[in-house]
């Protein structure tokens, strides 16, 4: 049962050229997975339909990946053997994903924060991980990083679109903190104007000399939109503000907004609007001129017409949110990949505010959480917990994290996420490889 994530990390490090003797010894034991999609008739995969759900950050990925997985598997194994009719993913939210997998109602629960994460000395999941039995013990689970995504600050300023269509509004962490604690109330606040030297109305005299240049941001209220439900996207955004604006996210006004005990809405200014899920936040922003809010990148890329603000990164560049800039952010943390302590707590999961050039600073991994051994579990996610059902889920996760020609990370890329960097992919494969049935290896390849 004891997991050896650390051992596999050494493998990852080894592939990066930092060799150690211990790494070599562990490398032999750890399976190297390649997302094999072969199902035999004895796997009965076509009769299994395990439920998955959780983070709405992951919804675009899972709901594109599940049909793709079924059709790819059918090509490899024939439709009689391959999984069919798998349910789509339910975007019920990160906490619901964790609760669901602990309760056994989800075979895979997804969360934007690893389960058991400790913030300021308090476990975020103390209420579900009570250590009373195996199901409520963190060590009974494997946590697989499945997608890497950026969080965009989507805004609705139609008056700028006409005149400054190509110039996107630039914000930095201080401005965001001030917007979300209510100390900046108007778009043409001097702090925002200062960040946007291009969004100006310029007056010139007859000789063409500039005589005045005035901030052209509209004099309308800023309406911060936040997630009214508990949210992993909120966690990533708050993680960014915490790390850039102080541990308590205290601002000059002394107002304490979103205290560092994240996953809640904290005390919000009276002009703020709350909404449910990524889609709800995007919807509220679309309906409200002057609104700004944080949503997962694919909600900006694929489903909405509004722009996302450029964010000033740690290298003092105003950086646009796209797949390259999120990859640059993740790359800044290559030297300290996610790792796990003895009790199963994942550390180094946070990748906000990377110091690379071209780095978009608000990004994070999302995690698929699954029981490590399904023996004697009864049902998991509505499916009978046996070797076949566990194998199906393990194969799905294995395929989902692959970068190869038919791997799930290609689907992620189409949906606006960033393919997992190789060193994180190694962590993911290693975690899937830890899954066992009755302490026997699942025999994945």
């Amino acid at each position: 049962m004891k997991k050896t994530l650390r051992g596999k990390l050494f493998v990852a490090v080894a592939t990066m050229g930092l060799l150690s003797t211990l790494a070599v010894t562990t490398a032999g034991a750890a399976p190297s997975l390649n997302g094999d999609l072969t199902f035999a008739a004895s796997d009965s995969a076509n009769a299994i339909n395990p439920a998955m759900g959780g983070s709405s950050f992951d919804e675009p990925f899972f709901n594109a990946a599940i049909p793709e997985f079924m059709s790819d598997a059918a090509k490899v194994s024939g439709s009689a053997n391959a999984p069919q009719g798998m349910s789509l993913y339910s975007p019920t939210g990160s906490s619901a994903g964790k609760k669901g997998v602990v309760a056994g109602t989800y075979a895979v629960g997804a969360s934007d924060v690893p389960m058991g994460t400790v913030v300021n000395g308090t476990s975020l999941d103390a209420s579900i991980l009570t250590n009373t039995n195996a199901a409520t013990t963190l060590n009974s689970y494997v946590q697989v990083p499945v997608v890497l995504g950026g969080v965009g600050l989507m805004y609705n300023l139609p008056s700028l679109k006409k005149k400054f269509g190509k110039d996107t509004v630039i914000l930095n962490s201080a401005a965001l903190a001030a917007i979300y604690d209510g100390s900046i109330t108007k778009w043409n606040n001097s702090a925002i104007c200062k960040l946007n030297p291009k969004i100006v109305t310029v007056k010139k005299n007859k000789k063409g000399k500039v005589i005045s240049s005035k901030c052209a941001l509209p004099n309308i209220p800023v309406v911060p939109v936040y997630r009214a439900d508990g949210s992993g996207t909120t966690f990533i955004f708050m993680d960014y503000l915490n790390q850039t604006q102080g541990a308590n996210f205290k601002t000059s006004s002394g107002a304490e907004v979103y205290p560092n005990t994240t996953f809640n809405q904290g005390e919000v200014p009276s002009n703020a609007l709350g909404a449910q899920k990524n889609a709800g936040v995007a919807g509220d922003i679309e309906q409200t001129v002057g609104a700004v809010g944080y949503v997962e990148y694919s909600y900006i890329l694929l489903q909405h017409t509004l722009p996302a603000a450029l964010i000033v990164n740690a290298a003092h560049q105003a950086q646009v949110l796209n797949q390259t800039s999120v990859a640059a952010d993740a790359a800044a943390f290559a030297s300290k990949p996610p790792s796990e302590s003895g009790a199963g707590v994942v550390s180094n999961y946070s990748i906000v505010n990377g110091t690379n050039k071209g780095d978009y600073p608000i990004a994070g991994y999302s995690w698929a959480i699954v029981r490590q051994d399904w023996n004697n579990l009864g049902t998991v996610g509505g499916a009978t917990a046996n070797l076949n059902s566990e194998k199906l889920v393990a194969k799905f996760l294995d395929w989902a994290v692959q970068n190869g020609a038919t791997g799930g990370q290609n689907v992620a890329k189409e949906q606006g996420y960033v393919p997992l960097p190789s060193y994180v992919q190694a962590v993911a494969e290693q975690q899937v490889g830890l899954m066992t049935f009755n302490s026997q290896s699942l025999g994945l390849s």
Partner: protein, 321 residues
């Protein structure tokens, strides 16, 4: 409502009950079945209330009266003060009633006495159709059409009327207690119209004709004869409408702005008891889950007391003067 009728008919019904009790033995299984059903649902209600109280108990014992009087609701960590939620719930319901009661009564009177027979059934079925629309559809309509209309037209206009002073001050974001109340008023309108139409239709013709023959105008007859004699049923209609408004979840959650705060104007965004439960239960665990159960308990107490209040009033209204 139902139990009320039972007690009222008890005196006349006791003979019948006695006869049923003495009936042939072949009826026994049937009687057992009926008694069993009644007891079963009684037990379900007891278990239901107990489980809500049980879930809410940790929050109640930790926070006590702070749950009701606290003005700050912070999901996840607490404090869990439901005062903003309570005021928003009551305020949105009052706004809904302010619009829906006069309009509903007027529509009921119009349907019965003013609209030509030919289109009467069409008109009333159109109003009843409003009751069949799922609440999420009202929510979407509010979000997509009323929010932009509020921000562009109604809120600037209302703010202009009072010069930006109370009650039309504050942010003009569309999402507000006023919008939630307005959407609710449309949702409870069919209930009020349908019930008050039915109770007005049984006002004796003699009374109305008597009033008219004494020289009263139609308006006077409506106000002095029809409405007073139908007041019991009308109060019942209002109570039912209020009950629906108090407990409405998704439509309110979509248009109120989900920002729990004590409203300082009608333009303030807010959150009601029911909308907060709907928004946050999915993620809630531990103390938040317990605090949400406490909200459910408050909502039950409020709707039960609205019902009880309506019963007292209807009983009083029914007494001969």
């Amino acid at each position: 409502m139902k139990e009320n009728t039972d007690t009222d008919t008890q005196s006349s019904g006791s003979e019948v009950a006695e006869r049923i009790r003495r009936s042939a033995t072949s009826d026994r299984p049937y009687q057992f079945l009926l008694r069993g059903t009644a007891l079963f649902f009684g037990a379900v209600i007891v278990v239901f209330v107990w489980s809500v109280v049980h879930t809410a108990w940790p929050a109640i014992s930790t926070f006590g009266f702070g749950l009701v009087t606290g003005s700050s609701w912070v999901a996840g960590t607490g404090p869990y003060g439901a005062l903003p939620l309570l005021t928003d719930t009551v305020l949105t319901t009052l706004i809904a009633l302010v619009f829906a009661v006069p309009i509903g009564l007027a529509s009921a009177l119009a349907l019965l006495f003013l609209i030509p027979q030919k289109i009467r059934s069409t008109a009333s079925s159109l109003i009843e159709l409003l009751a069949a629309v799922p609440s999420v559809v009202y929510g979407l309509w509010g979000l997509w059409y009323l929010v932009p209309w509020f921000t562009k037209t109604l809120q600037p206009f209302l703010a202009g009327v009072t010069g930006g002073r109370w009650p039309f001050n504050g942010p003009q974001e569309g999402f507000s207690v006023l919008l939630a109340g307005l959407v609710l008023s449309i949702m409870i309108l069919p209930t009020i119209v349908a019930i008050s139409r039915d109770v007005i239709s049984v006002v004796p013709r003699d009374l109305i004709e008597g009033g008219l023959s004494l020289g009263a105008t139609r308006g006077q007859v409506f106000l002095r004869v029809v409405l007073p004699s139908a007041r019991t049923g009308i109060l019942g209609a209002i109570a039912l409408g209020a009950g629906r408004a108090l407990g409405e979840t998704i439509a309110v959650a979509m248009v109120i702005g989900s920002n729990p705060q004590i409203p300082h104007s009608l333009f303030t965004s807010g959150a009601t008891l029911a909308s907060t439960i709907a928004t946050q239960f999915g993620e809630a665990s531990g103390s938040t889950g317990s605090a949400l159960a406490a909200l459910a308990l408050m909502l039950m107490v409020i709707t039960a007391s609205v019902n009880a209040g309506a019963r007292v009033l209807t009983k009083r209204a029914r007494m001969p003067r």
